[in-house]
Amino acid sequence: MGQEEQEAMKLILAAPLKATVFAWNRARSEDIMASVECGFSFLHISIPISDLHIYHKLKTSREKVLKQLEETVNLAKSFGCQVSIGAEDASRSSAEQFLQVAELAARLGALRIRYADTIGCLDPFKTYEQIAAVSKLCPIPIEFHGHNDFGLATANTLAACQAGSQYISTTIAGIGERAGNASMEEVIQALNLNGCRDPHVDTNKISQLVKMVNKLLDRSNGEFFSPNYKTDVDFFQGLHKCN
């Protein structure tokens, strides 16, 4: 973690947020130490779990990856940190491979495990099938993390919720690597469909927030949004009035 990033992290921690802020870490001791030095007490530790990522990216073995996870979680715990585990590329892994990590995570005292559709290759039907299959047996809550490579991140996130995922990853305006992640405002609208309206979400502020992110990222020309974005926000405001 660079000096500038550490400064940014400290600023986020110092901000008067209602949210619990997690620092994202690879399963490496230097990442954990950097997060702890910034003052984080909640750490997210990510490992890849598909054969492709383990053998082609890390060029190592599954056993070694799990051992590394165990060591880094223990290191984080030694500083009194709470930990959540990330299973990168879970959508291209088997249910057994995911559950193996989930069981280890539970044994190590992790709060939850993230099921990441790293390259956005799920459709809602597959998402439902896969999350339903693992959520029955998973000892800790599952968080779903969707990517938007085929424009399905929102639908997949909704399907994951319907299949038993208790936490979801979203970004405001859907910003993220490549085609982005599931956008918070769309997911909230999609969840409203099934009567899952979260009373804690202040719908009135969503469009303000989206505009703010847009402005901060200097994307006023709409680079980050679908061309129908304006309709979306208007629609959202319309919904708010109906509610």
Binding site: Q3, E5, L52, L152, A155
Partner: protein
């Protein structure tokens, strides 16, 4: 094996709504035909005044009209061979007027699509009740439209499967995207065996995005379908005709959807593109980009310079990374290639003429100390020193 999809384009109609001049409209149709044009819905009211032009493929255009005899006759006179009659279901549905319009269309030898604009507001039984108020013998296709964006993919699948069983006419589906579910709902319709679906390039006007359905059909549903290698470029031209730009992160066709910035992603993509790409960028005519910014790692820098035949050593890469990150943060965006080269020469210029005695590690340490003074990189100590020390011990 699913039935191959038939797309009903909504993009050309958007051009009409925007009052494009005839030449521009012809250009738009040409670009869309190059991508793929099965059918296109055209508002008859907006079409009036467009002179008959042999370039325009009238056989593929369906005239969108209200259920009224004059409009049926107008559509026929304008050269449409199919009409798309828009009906809103409600308790006091004027089935007599619809009946008359349908009969007129049949007399004129037109094919008829009966579009239920607010179909998703009703349960299947109620909807069938509405539809059966008119003589279905005069209807070729019933178009189920989710104008209020009220469906999710599972409801779409269940509803359309049930309707397909219970209605004797062909079914068609049109999704709306106000909740970001249009592509997913359209895929669900295709899975349910409804193969005629509405779409617009880049999902303009809140329709399902054509390119997303196309690629998801091929790669997620694993079905064979042809994809033009110029998809991204042609989509850009289409949006250009409509005075719009393709957002950089638009799935499938955005210029940045194959851009990789974070160290972990770039490192992976260099080793094997499958790690972080769902399909090869060449399929849609895009190319992979390594973006250098505040999330970059040394692997990205080394790969970038390698591609310019200027291989960087570990030390220079670590040093340059620190400078690059500072620059990216201060300008709040990634760096372009020119900036990167400039920074590299600036860095090497600073370090030129620097001669230090001692062994390799000693020289590197001195060079590093100098760079701290120059660039204020207190915590940018390259990890490689400790690794080298270990290997020397």
């Amino acid at each position: 094996m699913l039935k191959p999809p038939i797309f009903v384009d909504q993009t050309i109609n958007q051009g009409l709504k925007q009052n494009l001049i005839a030449d521009k409209l012809a250009e738009l149709v040409r670009f869309i035909s190059e991508i793929r044009l099965d059918y296109a819905d055209i508002s008859v009211a907006n079409w009036q005044g467009i002179s008959r032009n042999s370039v325009l493929p009238m056989e593929k255009f369906r005239g969108v009209i209200e259920p009224c005899c004059q409009q049926v006759i107008l559509a026929s006179n304008l050269g449409f061979r199919t009409v798309n009659m828009v009906v809103f279901c409600r308790r006091d549905l004027n089935s007599h007027a619809i009946e008359m319009a349908l009969a007129t269309a049949k007399t004129l030898g037109l094919s008829v699509v009966l579009q239920i604009r607010n179909a998703s507001e009703f349960a299947v039984q109620a909807l069938i009740g509405f539809v059966k108020q008119v003589n279905l013998a005069h209807v070729d296709t019933v178009l189920y439209c989710d104008e209020g964006s009220l469906l999710d993919p599972f409801v779409t699948y269940k509803t359309l499967t049930e309707l397909k069983e219970k209605l004797s006419v062909d079914l068609e589906f049109c999704a709306h995207n106000n909740r970001g579910l249009a592509t997913a709902n359209t895929l669900a319709a295709l899975k349910a065996g409804v193969c005629k679906v509405s779409a617009a390039v880049a999902g303009i006007d809140s329709f399902a995005a054509f390119e997303e359905i196309l690629l998801a059909y091929k790669f997620l549903l694993n079905q064979p379908i042809e994809i033009t290698k110029k998809l991204a470029q042609l989509s850009k031209e289409v949006l250009g005709c409509l005075g719009r730009e393709v957002p950089m992160n638009k799935p499938i066709i955005g210029s940045n959807v194959f851009a990789h910035e974070s160290g972990i992603h770039v490192d992976g993509v260099i080793k094997n593109p499958d790690l972080y790409e769902p399909f090869s960028p060449e399929i849609v005519g895009l190319s992979r980009k390594l973006v250098i910014g505040k999330h970059s790692g040394t692997a990205s820098l080394k790969a970038k310079f390698r591609s310019w035949n200027m291989p960087l050593n570990d030390f220079d890469a670590a040093l340059l990374l620190g400078i690059v990150r500072k620059k990216a943060i201060s300008q709040r965006s990634s760096l372009n290639d020119c900036q990167l080269i400039d920074l590299y020469y600036e860095m090497s210029g600073q370090l030129q003429g620097f001669e230090a005695g001692g062994d390799e590690i000693c020289r590197a340490e001195k060079k590093y100390t100098l760079s701290i003074q120059r660039y204020g990189m207190a915590n940018k100590r390259p990890v490689l020193f400790s690794q080298r020390r270990k290997s020397l011990q």
